[in-house]
Symmetry: C2
């Protein structure tokens, strides 16, 4: 189903019983928690390395947002935060973001069960050594009441170019809240959809089990994929759409300047072409990786932090040309 | 100098003393003139074939306009017209257009002297057998007073993309009338410039010799070419311009639908890239030929006369893709 699902994420929010929430936490206590999480991860079977938010540049941190390894809140927040990243970048554990612990698993494609299984495994590892704030009545206690209960946010990154062309994606998005789900742009709350990429996630954490929430998300996702595929059948015979897709590849192969928004739109069209077997070029996986590489901070963390937007546009075009040629 | 000059044309207007101008000519008399011109061309050393305007479709006739072999007036005019075309299409002799005879020579590149020499040669051949209307005081008599005298219109087809980008071409165009010249679009009077192609020709036919008119046109053309080349030096380092040129080729190689105006703009950019050694692809000559092939009637005369504009846009994109790939 990777035609329409780029990736799957599970995020669990946890807090330590004996500390106040990060918003009221002293610097010393924050460091204590960072250390405790590090200890809990020692010899757990997965290799982690620690990144202190105070020791890396903003560019590096923003490039981590672009790769969905940390949240915008993590980067914008107070000092004294850290993230533990597994060597393959599949598991990231933010410490002292909104909650003491934000454990996240990210997997390619539509893989809710696998992602949850791994998140649950790491959660168990942590819970053996750490004393999670948990109420029998409410479940896991979190700073924000919208996370209370499971503390879980499960989400899929969808690529819905055909629904997007018909603006149906927005209509569908508006109805999802009735189903306990929410649809957003590529980088979460308050970001606009770009290149027809949408993030679909569960909204309800209280009074529902993790399994039930995941099943619900899985069902709706499956329906959305089916709608997208029907919409693709409807448009892919159109010469106008074929023209757009084909030109998109031509432009990606030749442009010398490209801003982020144009790159996203063109890569989205080429991804549609590739997954619909209308184009032969990079695989959908390679395009998904390229989409991360051409984000502004990812370019800067690779090529120099003092790049102007124009320099980035030149570099972005070059990265894309090299990849496609 | 073919960087900036696509082709050169010389046209001579002649009338037969013993006949009224075509506008007052009977069908019988018109046919007599067609026959007389044919006889005059027999065994002249150049092989001609005759095309009767009554025997070919409008599509074929319009495609001949697109190739500059006949004029729009020739196609839109009364019945009983004919054109004698040399086998290599270099010489065309329209009979019973505005004047009895419109002799035209077209050459690739900047070749005013060669074109005039050949026109003069054919003019001499015709004048041996035909009795041209000529006044010692006025020169050759023509229906429209603007052609009186030499009856000659010398013109060069210029490609001025750099001047066009700076809109300098229009400013220059406005000043040319003071120099006895006029600048127009690709298909003569009242056509708009397309793809930065301009037609520069002499306006004055009375009180000036053919040689002097040609020298004047040659001098101004040389100055315009120099201005264009300076303007190119000014813009060709710009990444924005390089981007435009490079993308143009990418789009031409991949589009599945392309209207005439977009094709002209993109081919113009690619021609700029090729003649400035910024792109390696088709030669400027091949691009110039392609520009003719993708004109609407040329497509229809090749692929079917009942094509819709959309069918033509599909076919145009296909012709262009095949040429560039």
């Amino acid at each position: 189903m990777s035609e329409a699902v780029v990736s799957t994420r599970i995020r669990l929010a946890r807090n330590l019983r004996e500390y106040p929430f990060p918003i009221r936490l002293s610097a010393d206590k924050a460091q204590e928690i960072v250390a405790k999480v590090g200890e809990a991860l020692t010899d757990c079977g997965i290799k982690f390395h620690k990144i202190d938010s105070d020791n890396v540049s903003d560019t590096i941190l923003v490039s981590m947002i672009e790769r969905h390894l940390v949240s915008p809140d993590f980067v914008n927040g107070e000092r004294g935060r850290a993230v533990y990243l597994s060597d393959d970048n599949t598991v990231s554990i933010m410490v002292n973001e909104e909650d003491h612990i934000r454990l996240q698993v990210i997997k390619d494609g539509f893989a809710l069960d696998e992602a949850y299984e791994l998140a649950d495994k790491v959660d168990n590892i942590l819970s053996k050594k750490l004393n999670f704030a948990f109420s029998d009545r409410l479940g896991y206690l979190t700073q924000c009441p919208t996370n209370l209960g499971t503390g879980m946010r499960a989400s899929v990154m969808l690529h819905l170019p055909a629904l997007d062309m018909s603006t149906a994606a927005y209509r569908i998005g508006a109805n999802l809240s009735k189903l306990g789900l929410t649809m957003r742009g590529l980088y979460g709350e308050s970001t606009k959809p770009s290149g027809a990429f949408f993030q679909l996630s569960n909204q309800v954490t209280l009074g529902i089990s993790e399994k039930a929430a995941i099943e619900n998300l899985k069902n709706i996702t499956t329906q959305l994929i089916a709608q997208e595929m029907r919409a693709r059948d409807g448009i892919l015979g159109d010469i106008e759409v074929e023209d757009k897709i084909s030109r998109a590849l031509g432009i990606l192969k030749t442009a010398k300047l490209m801003d982020h928004s144009e790159a996203m739109s063109l890569l989205s069209l080429v991804r549609l072409g590739v997954t619909s077997k209308k184009l032969e070029t990079l695989s959908a996986d390679s395009i998904d990786k390229l989409i991360v590489e051409i984000q502004p901070a990812s370019i800067m963390s690779r090529c120099g932090e003092d790049m102007s937007p124009r320099d980035r546009d030149i570099k972005r075009a070059e990265i894309i040309r090299n990849k496609f040629n």
